[in-house]
């Protein structure tokens, strides 16, 4: 070694900014983690929710309303009684499905923003089948037909964007967003003319035959079989993504499209299949609302379920279990908000603020948990 001895102190340097170069004692340092466990993910979600509530509390105070009364009402409405819990699950049903729809697509890095349009496509398919065959055939046949029709309609609507992306490289975000408008205009036209109920001035169809309504679990609750269907779909998505070759390709496409292509995965075909699956799930959400709640088509059968699905997928970390949890959480918020507004006069729009805050905070949190703070010694 020609460089063995510690070099002597440098010449005349009176003003060394050595604090910036590390304290001789010890200091705290921010480092990147290699792994983020699921526990951190859950903690992030819980933490983000709590902070979102805290921030919303400030808004409630600013509105001159007692925070505790408002939050108490929110909780009571969401989960304060057996009835409200069941109603929360009713709200969560379409959200689980649109959340899964977004999650499947996002896993492949396909940005399907058209859940709303695919929801309406599914709803229209459901109503049409129920109306056409509901009186003639037994429900045992018609109900599965409705499910299939909803899935096919949603898948077909989404496939337009999938096909354009796969073969022409058209940006699927723009196409899916535009298709949302297109289908709403088609529905408006149908509701204004061909499909309009003859006995009303409203833009709505007649109700489906009662035999085709999705059966309810209990006599005193609106909770219907659609919820079971949603949970089944979540299990199905889990199996698809992690147990099948197709799911392997979907995740591969999302992880590294170039490597996927080099290793012989048919990227175009996979894009179309992913879009179709995503659209089918969103279409099923349309089924649950038409077949389980409204029984007829109207323009307001969705309160933005397709868009909420995007938020739910992201909050749920694109995992089916996370999506179910996030959807139930958001369902609870929607439900509680109504009660909060009635009993304390807090605008229910506040709930959308909370939802937005949860999303932002979860996204921020998901970045933050990738780092850790560690104490490092100075001299070693």
């Amino acid at each position: 070694m020609t460089n063995p001895t510690p070099p002597p102190s440098p010449p005349d340097l009176t003003d060394l900014p050595n604090t910036s170069l590390g304290d001789p004692g010890s200091s705290w340092r921010i480092e990147k983690r290699l792994h983020v466990g699921w526990k951190s993910e859950v903690l992030t979600l819980v933490g983000a929710t709590l902070v979102a509530f805290a921030l919303s509390g400030i808004l409630i105070v600013a509105a001159g309303i007692n925070v505790w009364d408002a939050f108490k009402a929110l909780f009571q409405g969401a989960a304060g009684s057996r009835r409200s819990i069941l109603e929360t699950l009713v709200q969560a049903t379409p959200l689980i499905l649109t959340g899964l729809a977004a999650a499947v697509a996002f896993r492949a890095r396909i940005w399907n923003i058209g859940g709303e349009g695919q929801f309406f496509a599914g709803a229209m398919g459901t109503w049409w089948v129920a109306n056409q065959f509901g009186d003639a055939l037994t429900p045992v046949i018609v109900l599965p037909m409705m499910v299939i029709a909803a899935a096919i309609a949603g898948a077909a609507w989404a496939s337009i964007a999938g096909f354009l992306r796969a073969y022409f490289g058209t940006n699927e975000i723009i196409v899916t967003v535009m298709l949302n408008f297109v289908i709403l205009f088609i529905l408006s036209w149908l509701l204004g003319g061909p499909w309009r109920s003859p006995d009303t001035y409203y833009f709505q169809t007649i109700k489906m035959p009662e035999a085709t309504w999705l059966p309810r679990f209990l006599a005193d609750s609106r909770l219907h079989w659609g919820f079971a269907l949603a949970l089944l779909a979540a299990v199905g998505v889990y199996i698809l993504l992690w147990k099948t070759s197709l799911g392997f390709e979907i995740r591969g496409l999302g992880t590294n499209e170039i490597a996927a292509r080099f290793k012989g995965i048919d990227v175009a075909r996979t894009i179309i299949v992913v879009m179709a699956i995503s659209g089918a799930l969103a279409g099923l959400a349309g089924l649950t609302q038409v077949g389980g709640i409204h029984y007829r088509l109207q323009l307001d059968i969705s309160t933005g379920y397709g868009f909420a699905g995007i938020i739910i997928a992201l909050v749920g970390r694109l995992h089916p279990a996370g999506v179910v949890i996030a959807a139930i959480g958001f369902g609870a918020l929607i439900n509680g908000a109504t009660f909060m507004q009635i009993s304390t006069g807090t605008p229910s729009a506040l709930v959308e603020v909370i939802q937005g805050l949860v999303l932002i905070l979860v996204l921020v949190g998901s970045v933050v948990v990738r780092y850790r703070v560690r104490r490092v010694g100075g001299d070693d």
Binding site: M1, T2, N3, T5, P6, P7, P8, P10, P11, D12, L13, L16, P17, N18, S20, L21, G22, R29, E31, K32, R33, L34, H35, K243, T244, S245, L246, F248, E249, R251, G252, T255, N256, I258, A259, A260, R261, F262, K263, G264, I265, D266, V376, G378
Partner: protein
């Protein structure tokens, strides 16, 4: 001292005070002179790794110091700290006697430190002149003419020949590097850092670069050259600082050491610098390319007209400077870039228009040059990467469902057979080192498949000596098993060491094929530079 008339005026934080430090024992080559750069006890930690641990090095004015080390030894980290890209956690750096605390490359340039990175920072649609101007000027007006005059002066002074007006994207990588060097000279440097500059050069290009560096050091500029090529170190450097796992192993005078000694310092054990192999027993042709043309990925790099014959049981090296069509050719062979002309046949089967998965099914395996982008899904599990491409085969799937057990067993076997350092097949691929990543790809392509043709592109780029040795031995083993191996590489040492024949590609065409046993390196270098010789070298291709 060399300097273009100063662009900077007064340097912040650095005054030209005379250093009166008597302790110059760190740089024994030039006693009595004060070091230009002094690195004192510098430590830099990253998560999970100490990239630089208590490093102390001096660089004298007019000295070429080589930073030698394997990948991951911490060479670039150290250079990045000098250039202000990152900041040290501990320790101090003194430049021209003053404490150096640069927070950005801009400040480093201001202080008189220039760096040419491995990955250039050039705007490809712009000309060389424009690149240098936008990279250095802060004035509102560009003053192109004024800059041009200065640059032409610099080119004259150092014998650099570059067309300043041609679009950078149309230049070869070697020429682009000269623009980066010119940019550094233009801003004025007392210390020039070059990170693996010879990786993109022909042997002749390396000679030109070294001649330039010798010239530059005459004017008192200190040069830090990062490399892992031993013969270059021996040729150009005055002193060598050897890094291993972030620790400075030794600093030696070049005249007092040997390649073997340096290799031992670098790797920490005695290494085999060449792979042992028997003479090839070539059989019948398995891969035949006839007048193949294909589009390139960028402005350059298309395949224009390639005809090759690859025989069973031989390794055909494909030499060439980066950007001469190698990537496009690789993409074409594995099927992601269908040829625009010509035919490719594999063992008699026409695979010209086949899709990647069908080509793979015919028995052609490819190891891409960019492991991370083209080869692996970094955020997936190791076992998932090991079955990628085979995930629909009956071996790993059953009625569309993945066979977890078969996958896991296969991965266990791959990890054992290919000596992959992984704690579990379920580990996320990202945590692996470069050498282990390459082993994952090799295992995927070779284990259980026994391909007829193996096409490897830059298989040891970025790998340390140990891993490179392993990969080359594997290639020879595949050859001996009876595979036809196409080794596309820019590393002449590797080509001469491993190949049975060497074809040279230049601007998308095969410009010659030679026998490495009877051909001089310089002749291949001439071919790589596009200088086709008389038939005597090119005629040697039939053994």
């Amino acid at each position: 001292m060399f300097r273009v008339e100063s662009q900077r005026g007064v340097r912040p934080g650095i005054t030209d005070t005379l250093v009166t430090n008597e302790n110059t024992g760190m740089a024994p080559t030039t006693p009595g002179t004060n070091p230009l750069l002094r690195i004192e006890h510098v430590t830099k930690r990253f998560p999970e790794v100490v990239a630089n641990n208590d490093i102390s090095i001096d660089v004298m004015p007019g000295e070429v110091l080589c930073l030698l080390g394997e990948n991951g030894a911490g060479k670039t980290t150290l250079a990045d700290m000098l250039y202000g890209v990152i900041r040290p956690d501990e320790g101090h750096i003194y430049f021209r006697g003053q404490h150096l605390d640069v927070k950005s490359p801009k400040e480093a340039i201001h202080a008189g430190i220039g760096m040419v990175h491995q990955h250039f920072e050039l705007v490809t649609p712009m000309s060389a002149l424009e690149n240098i101007v936008i990279g250095t000027k802060e004035a509102t007006w560009l003053e192109l003419d004024e800059t041009r005059i200065k640059l032409e002066g610099l080119c004259d002074q150092y014998g650099i020949s570059i067309d300043l007006d041609v679009q950078v994207g149309r230049l070869s990588v070697g020429e682009q590097q000269w623009i980066e060097i010119l940019k550094a000279l233009y801003t004025g440097v007392d210390l020039l850092i070059l990170d693996e500059p010879t990786a993109v050069l022909t042997p002749q290009g390396v000679d030109r670069l070294f001649a330039f560096l010798r010239e530059l050091k005459q004017s008192g500029v200190g040069i830090v050259l990062i490399t892992h090529k031993l013969h270059e170190v021996m040729e150009i450097s005055d002193r060598v600082a050897v890094l291993r796992h972030g620790v400075l192993v030794d600093t030696v005078n070049t005249t007092e050491t040997t390649s073997r000694e340096l290799a031992r310092l670098m790797v920490g054990r005695d290494v085999v610098l060449t792979v042992e192999k028997e003479p090839a027993q070539p059989g019948k042709p398995v891969l035949e390319l006839d007048s193949v043309a294909a589009e390139g990925r960028a402005l350059r790099g298309a395949v224009i007209d390639v005809s090759l014959e690859l025989r069973k049981g031989e390794i055909l090296g494909l030499a060439g400077v980066s950007g001469n069509g190698q990537s496009a050719l690789f993409d074409t062979l594995v099927g992601v870039n269908p040829p625009t002309n010509g035919t490719i046949s594999l063992d008699g089967v026409d695979i010209t228009a086949m899709r990647p998965k069908d080509i793979a099914a015919q028995g052609l395996s490819g190891v891409p040059s960019d492991r991370i982008r083209q080869g692996l899904m970094m955020d997936s599990q190791i076992q998932e990467n090991l079955i990628l491409g085979k995930h629909r085969s009956s071996e790993f799937s059953n009625l569309g469902f993945l066979d977890k057990k078969a996958t896991h067993d296969f991965a266990d076997e791959a990890i054992e057979q290919f000596e992959i350092t992984a704690s579990s097949p379920r580990q996320i691929t990202r945590v692996l080192s470069g050498g282990n990543l390459q082993k994952v790809i090799l295992a995927r392509e070779l284990l259980g498949g026994s391909p007829k043709v193996l096409v490897v592109h830059q298989p040891t780029r970025g790998l340390d000596i140990g891993a490179s040795e392993y990969v080359r031995r594997r290639l020879v083993a595949e050859r001996d098993r009876g595979a036809a191996v196409l080794l596309i590489s820019e590393d002449l040492d590797e080509l001469f060491n491993v190949s049975d024949r060497i074809a040279v590609i230049y601007e998308g065409e095969i410009i010659g094929t030679v026998d490495p046993e009877t051909t001089a390196r310089e002749d291949v270098g001439m071919l790589m530079a596009g200088i086709s010789q008389s038939a005597d070298a090119a005629g040697d291709d039939e053994p």
